[in-house]
């Protein structure tokens, strides 16, 4: 079919017409091949202007429309709507930018501007001549979300999505929800108790009618794409029928095996069959076969099974794989502390009285191993001098992590303050590089610690910690006085760097979502799309994306949840069709496109030995097209052929 393009030159009052001879432009374009109709008008975007376009489409039976006016960012959508109403496919309506790119920038050169406007419009006519009629891509969608990780971020995201009316599967790898927040004593800057604000949310998430909570479970495999993920979840063998279990706790009480409690960061013991902490949700035990005598010694022991009043201990239980279909995935896998053993200069892992911030949290917690009393791990005595070290492994590109872990300044300030509240005659020192208090009420909190609680802040780093005569000797420097500082302290608390959860990187690989070089999940845009992954359908919440404090993690989780609700607002998933496609006849299967695609949208079709593009994932960047050695990859409505013709038209005359 012969293309019948209509050209509509807008005056934009005098914005265009004051510089460009619009009459002459319309006249010239009228003679151009493929143009069936060419006219001009004062304000093409006004109602009469749009009607003029619509009428002309019908009258001249146009197959394509060029509106020569302002930038496409302003009125492309307007004229595409008008085109659709009048019977031209929206993707065959193009804008020639003769205002921002011509009349406004060449005001003193009327002749040259007119010539340039003609060229600009001709390039768009050439493009339009080869434009195909396209429809937005529609993909069916499962209106159910998967949230991975049930720390505060995962819990918040799950609750928000569920409260927006959608089903949620919440998967947590440990036996209880709560994450690190459940371990904390009190929270800065208000000092409200972490458990008190956390527990109601933990209960809510477990009882919500639209949330399917799966604790002690991990993601085994994820296939599919946005709207249509198929997820395999491994429900780990707990060796306890947790549905039948009443949570009476007799098995835990009678279990003879003791091992270090993960929840108490090794400061207390737990049993081989255990619930991680008294407020755990669900409050039902799991059995840890790595420490259980029954498993280690060929069936000797078996006490828990004998004492269980409902007979729900089952040594034969196996991992179970559960399949779920979901439309969106929120990744909230959280953080770990940088291993204390890596801080050799501070004797991390070597000296009992050099501990992590999380261990100190447990110590301060009223429900912790010392019931809130501050005690030296080595001898149980009350420490009279404690040194708190910020930036342990953070902001140290030479030896450790280069980034700022963001929360350490604040939590160590809180630690020092709480210590002073408990040990009034004690002395707290904080070594710092900068005290970073960028948060609401944070600076005031820090000032309170320094001024009211007499916490001594020393600006400088600690170079070495060693034990001598039952003390923890801390060598540091005060960079304000330029003097070496040596403190014979009773304890040292390290503000260790925040690193992504160890399992998170593996999971990211499984999910095929990007991480930064440290393993933090990469957001789609650092400013404008902070809660989305580049891979469509994946959303990020909490410290898995970068170090965060509680309010930030909660805000990001709610942001991710609202993005999921936004996605689920439509029955189907729609996307722009300006994406890549592969010519099956010419593709030689070299896979270059697969290697350059930033979204893993290009995949290899083993059966036919060619590449193919997954329409639901392709973002239309064109990397594969430029890389394809056989020009088999092409972009809809911006094919190489279109580019060649546009270039030729731009150079004509």
């Amino acid at each position: 079919m012969e293309e019948r393009i209509g050209v509509f030159v807008c005056h934009c009052g005098s914005n265009i017409a004051g510089v460009v001879d619009v009459k002459r432009v319309a006249e010239e374009l009228g003679k151009y091949p493929g143009v069936a109709h060419s006219t001009d008008y004062t304000y093409m975007c006004s109602d009469p202007g749009q009607n003029l376009v619509k009428d002309a489409i019908k009258e001249h039976n146009l197959t394509g429309v060029i509106v020569a006016a302002c930038s496409p960012t302003l009125h492309e959508a307007t004229f595409r709507r008008a085109g659709r109403v009048a019977g031209v496919n929206p993707y065959q309506v193009e804008i020639a930018n003769i205002r921002e790119h011509c009349s406004w920038v060449h005001q003193g050169e009327k002749e040259a501007a007119t010539e340039k406007a003609i060229k600009i419009i001709k390039t768009m006519v050439e493009k339009a001549r080869l434009d195909e009629a396209l429809d937005p891509i529609s993909v069916p969608m499962t209106h159910k979300a998967l949230v991975v990780g049930a720390g505060i971020a995962g819990i918040q995201a799950a609750l928000d999505i569920a409260n927006a009316g959608h089903e949620v599967v919440l998967v947590e790898k440990s036996p209880s929800v709560g994450g690190h927040m459940a371990q904390l004593s009190e929270t800065f800057p208000t000092l409200d108790c972490s458990q008190c604000i956390m527990t109601p949310k933990m209960v809510e998430v477990s009882q919500h009618p639209r949330i399917n909570l799966m604790t002690y479970s991990e993601i085994d495999d994820v296939a599919g794409f946005v709207g249509n993920f198929k997820v395999k979840i491994r429900k780990k063998a707990a060796y306890v029928d947790r549905d039948a279990c009443t949570g009476c706790g007799v098995c835990v009480e009678k279990c003879p095996v003791k091992t270090e409690s993960e929840f108490d960061e090794g400061l207390a013991m737990r049993k081989a069959i255990y619930t991680p902490f008294p407020q755990a949700v669900p409050n039902k035990p799991v059995l840890d076969p790595e420490h259980c005598t029954y498993f280690l010694k060929d069936g000797k022991c078996g006490i828990c099974q004998k004492v269980c009043p409902v007979g729900c201990v089952d040594y034969e239980q196996k991992d179970e794989i559960i399949e779920e279909e979901v439309g969106a995935i929120v990744v909230a896998t959280g953080y770990d502390l940088y291993p204390i053993e890596n801080m050799g200069e501070y004797g991390g892992g070597k000296y009992a009285d050099v501990i992590t911030g999380l261990q100190f949290e447990r110590m301060l917690s009223a429900s912790g191993p010392t019931e809130g009393e501050v005690r030296r791990p080595s001898d149980g005595k009350e420490p009279k001098e404690i040194v708190f070290l910020t930036c342990c492994g953070s902001r140290d590109p030479e030896a450790h992590m280069p980034y700022c872990s963001k929360v350490c300044c604040m939590y160590l300030t809180k630690h020092a303050m709480l210590y002073k509240h408990k040990v009034h005659d004690g002395q707290a020192y904080v070594f710092y590089m900068d005290v970073r208090t960028a948060g609401k009420g944070y600076e005031e909190f820090y000032t309170r610690a320094a001024e009211e609680d007499d916490v001594l802040y020393i600006r400088g780093k600690v170079s070495k910690i060693y034990e001598e005569d039952g003390k923890v000797m801390v060598w540091g420097v005060d960079t304000l006085t330029g003097k070496k500082v040596e403190i014979a302290a009773d304890m040292a608390v390290l503000g260790l760097a925040t690193v992504p959860n160890v399992a998170a990187k593996k999971l990211a690989n499984k999910l095929k979502i990007h991480t930064d070089e440290w393993g933090f999940l990469a957001e789609a845009h650092p400013k404008l799309r902070p809660v989305e992954s580049l891979a469509p359908g994946f959303y990020l919440a909490g410290a898995a994306q970068g170090p965060k404090d509680i309010p930030e993690a909660v805000a990001q989780a709610s942001g991710a949840a609202s993005k999921v609700a936004h996605l689920f607002a439509e029955e189907e998933y729609h996307r722009e069709p300006i994406i890549a496609w592969i010519d099956e006849d010419t593709c030689a299967g070299c896979r270059v496109c697969i290697s350059v695609c930033p979204y893993d949208a290009a995949e290899f079709d083993e059966e036919n030995g060619i590449a193919k593009i997954q329409e639901a994932i392709c973002e239309g960047c064109g990397a594969c097209i430029a890389a394809c050695p056989s020009a088999s990859a092409q972009q809809r409505n911006l094919t190489d052929e279109q580019v060649y013709k546009m270039v030729s038209a731009a150079l004509e005359g």
């Binding site: 920038v105 845009h525 006849d585 010419t586 990397a623 430029a626 056989s630 911006l638 580019v643 150079l651």
Partner: protein
């Protein structure tokens, strides 16, 4: 007087928007360049650039997002590498590599766009018109001919079609396709 003809490939997220900003700020620059809007500078095939020179361009300007700002993660890095190689190739072909320029211009850098445009036009002016010594029509717009070096490939296509060997056909066809 000689007025250079310039083709500008601008990525739609940064440089195209930067050019819009130059317009809304009423900054003035020479009218020698015509913009071809692409989604990403990484979409630009070196052949597009060669084609532009073949079709009579005296200069080609590629505008992309600053490193690290690419809307598609790293398309601009791909461009950066391609342009480096392409410049070497251009000088082998007897085309001054300065006729091809890659600039990072963000959506906020209307001023930079003006500066780059003016400077590039001056530079290409000082280089003079590009003489490729091609026979046949040059700059004949819509009736575009294939780049000369593609012609053997068209023949290969014919040869490939005669044989039944799938591979040969596959190799030949794409080149022909691009040449179309």
């Amino acid at each position: 007087m000689y007025e250079p003809r310039i083709v500008c490939f601008f990525c739609k997220w940064c440089t195209y928007a930067g050019a819009d900003l130059a317009g809304t700020s009423r900054k003035q620059y020479p009218p020698n360049g015509v913009v071809v809007r692409v989604n990403c500078s990484g979409r630009i095939d070196p052949q597009h650039v060669l084609w532009a020179f073949r079709e009579g361009a005296d200069g080609v300007l590629i505008g992309g997002c600053h490193p690290g700002d690419c809307h598609y993660q790293d398309g601009n890095y791909k461009t950066m590498r391609r342009v480096t190689f392409l410049k070497r190739m251009l000088s082998d072909m007897g085309i001054e590599p300065e006729r091809l320029r890659l600039e990072w211009i963000s959506a906020a850098e209307g001023e930079k766009l003006v500066h780059v445009m003016s400077d590039f036009v001056d530079e290409v002016k000082s280089l003079g018109a590009l003489e490729l010594g091609l026979t046949g029509e040059k700059g004949n717009g819509g009736a575009a001919k294939a780049p000369a070096k593609k012609k053997p490939a068209v023949k290969a296509k014919a040869a490939g079609k005669k044989t039944t060997a799938k591979k040969t056909g596959k190799k030949a066809k794409p080149a022909a396709r691009k040449a179309r």
